[in-house]
Amino acid sequence: MVVVEGCNPAPPYPIHFGGVECAYCHMVVSDPRFAAELVTKKGRVYYFDSIECLASFVAESQVPQADVHSMWVSDFQHPEHLIPAPSAFYLKASRLHSPMRRNFIAFSHSADRTQALATLGGTQMSWEEVLQLQRTHSRANTTLRAS
């Protein structure tokens, strides 16, 4: 259930871990490293348990693009600190598991991402590339083999 935030300060709004569910996959948002948020112009807040869920939600225009006020993702370097999604630096990590297994994590600084790349491996990406990947990733592509 989404609660309409009325008289609050500006987004991003803090995420109540364990108390809200992902607007895309309905799982309870519980991992601060991957959580994300979308705020509409009317002030309605959608929470996501993973960056891939936010990206899929946006790629499928579940909220019309014109109604979106802002999108936020967790800074992996400082979990629970939300940063604007379009300008974040993304890593599709090889050695980390995100809730829906697309393994996207976000950083506010490119240097942090480069450092993480050394430990976690993977591919560096931009927000557009993340969106594109989720657009093409459909149910048909889901196989029952671990990557």
Binding site: G18, H26, M27, V28, P32, T142, L144, R145
Partner: protein
Amino acid sequence: MGLRRWTAGWMIALVAMLTPLAIAKPAADPQLTVSKGQAQRPAVVVCPRCPVRRLTDALRQAPEGARIIVQSGLYVEGEIVVDKPVEIVGQGWPAFDGTGKNQVLTVRADGVHLTGLLIRNSGKSYIADLAGLRVEAAHHCVVEGNRLLNNFFGIYLASTEDCLIRDNEVHGNATSEAFSGNGIHLWNSHRITLERNHVTGHRDGLYFEFLQDSAVRDNISERNVRYGLHTMYSANNYYAGNLLRANLAGVVFMYSKRLRAIDNRYEDNWGAACYGALLKDLDDSEIAKNLFYHNSVALYAEDANRNLLVKNRFYNNGFAIRIMANANDNVFSGNLFETNSFDVTTNSSAASTNSFNGNYWDDYRGYDLNHDGIGDVPFWPVKLFGLLLEEYPAAIILLRSPFAELLDAAEEAIPILTPRNLADEKPLIARPSWSKPQTLKNASVQ
């Protein structure tokens, strides 16, 4: 006279020869053990005052196939790696303690058998899934009758096959605010039998990902921070007789197929808008004889197809079934709906491809003139007010108001907005005979 003495002499000699055999006992050997009728075979004994004081050393010395007995004591050895087939038996709950820093016990060999061990206080990490017990790339393990306390992840299997995990107690101290790991976590594993384990206080009690051909039976998963049971990207698994109670939400079956969930209980899952069972992208599965009691939403189905839901009991839930328009060809038959605020809600007025047939609805006001036990008029389980709620969840405040009742009454008289074909053509008049109060099959596991 001579003969008698000769015979007596031989008899004495015979007795003298045989006596040592009768009274001899095997010499007491500290290396040999006696353990509850198990076959005695040479074993390595580990204890704080023994020649071998650390399990790590015992593992280095022991040959393949050896039995290692670890006696009561505190063992802080960093990460202990079992890299050969051995049997490790704890006596008096030897404590393997990660002191909040490391992975405690890791198994990397086939044929390892672990029992009677207390494994606790693993480290916690944002990068690595540290666990009390980790089994990776191993076959034929047996993990039986152990205790895992206050670990980040309790028992973690990765790329493991043909293992038995039974009668373990796995208790964590997860809170929803802090970052936590799962109780029993099976990843990329096949043919695992998970039975009679008791899991509490983790993020998800039982978590399965890329799990196939496995059986999950008679476990208790309760008081976990998130889900009692969470299955993703898995197939051909069998879940029976499990109790999932007082978790934030009960069970998630997601991106999976051909699951069978029979005779489980989902109780008191208390999160706001949280679920007894969340079915997302679940196909060709069977959900039967489960009890959904006192959940906010008993069963939620989205993008779920060709599933069979029979003989389940939905009792005293907020919403019994929330089924979305993209769930198709599901069959609901022989279920029991009692004292739910909403029996069925959906998010579309369009024709539904799901069928409801032969269920018992306590809200049914029909009649049975030909006494065949089946109502003569159909039952439409979707109320207009329920449809309204999908679009405007905040409207729940109007529940039981005269307005809501009026809305439902108007819709029943002139049905326009609720899906007309979502009807049970053969609703049962009387409660089915199987619906007596269910008892816990595994009452011995507390």
